[in-house]
Symmetry: C2
Subunit: 101 residues, 2 copies
DNA sequence: TTTATATATTCCTTGACAAGAATATACAAG
DNA sequence: CTTGTATATTCTTGTCAAGGAATATATAAA
């Protein structure tokens, strides 16, 4: 797992932005209105998300529409899923311990 | 998703610690040796991870054994998996667009 | 061209946080 | 009880990132 993705998501307002964009792509102003944030901060957060590769932007007239990118989230999903192995292994250890003890 | 978990994981050394503990529970010194970190920093990072609820500690003589806790990782897994819905929906939108256009 | 709308950028201040060094605490062994 | 081992804590310092305010840029509309 890369920490760039995690760092980008760890900021509360950015996480909210991501969850909003999960609903549908949004312009900067739409995000600002929906989350009651100031426009410059939204622009900055979206820039950070773009740098981290979590969103893409396509201009439409004066607006900039931001859209979630799948890849980093799929990687996060894979990483989180890879823990399943550990939990089941730990569970086995516990069971063996109880049987022997 | 709670940002506490993400913040804890976003720090590179803590992420390494988590990935090490995913192999098996470790004492502070074992972590320090494995990752070539200084003992105080490891103690601090483990403390942070414990505060965030990502690990638990059980004392064994002078040693403190740190173990990964399942819950936050399961929640992260659920959250990441919940994006699947969005990707498939976006894919549908794209297909419809191509057919109509 | 001016004016309005949408977004980006810059500067500043402040708070959080990570590392290093030194020290304190806990427990065990002799 | 002293010594050694394992871990935690404190203090300091430097860096980085977020918000606020102001301003710059881009595109559309009149």
């Amino acid at each position: 797992m890369d920490t760039a993705t995690l760092t980008a998501l760890a900021e509360p307002n950015r996480l909210k932005i991501v969850e909003l964009l999960r609903g549908q792509p949004c312009s900067v102003n739409e995000v600002a209105l929906a989350l009651k944030l100031r426009q410059p901060q939204v622009s900055k957060h979206l820039h950070t998300l773009a740098q981290a590769g979590l969103v893409t932007m396509q201009p439409v007239a004066q607006q900039r529409i931001y859209t979630l990118k799948p890849e980093p989230f799929l990687r996060l999903e894979d990483w989180a899923n890879s823990f399943q192995q550990y939990w089941t292994q730990q569970l086995d250890n516990l069971e063996n311990h109880l049987k022997k003890g």
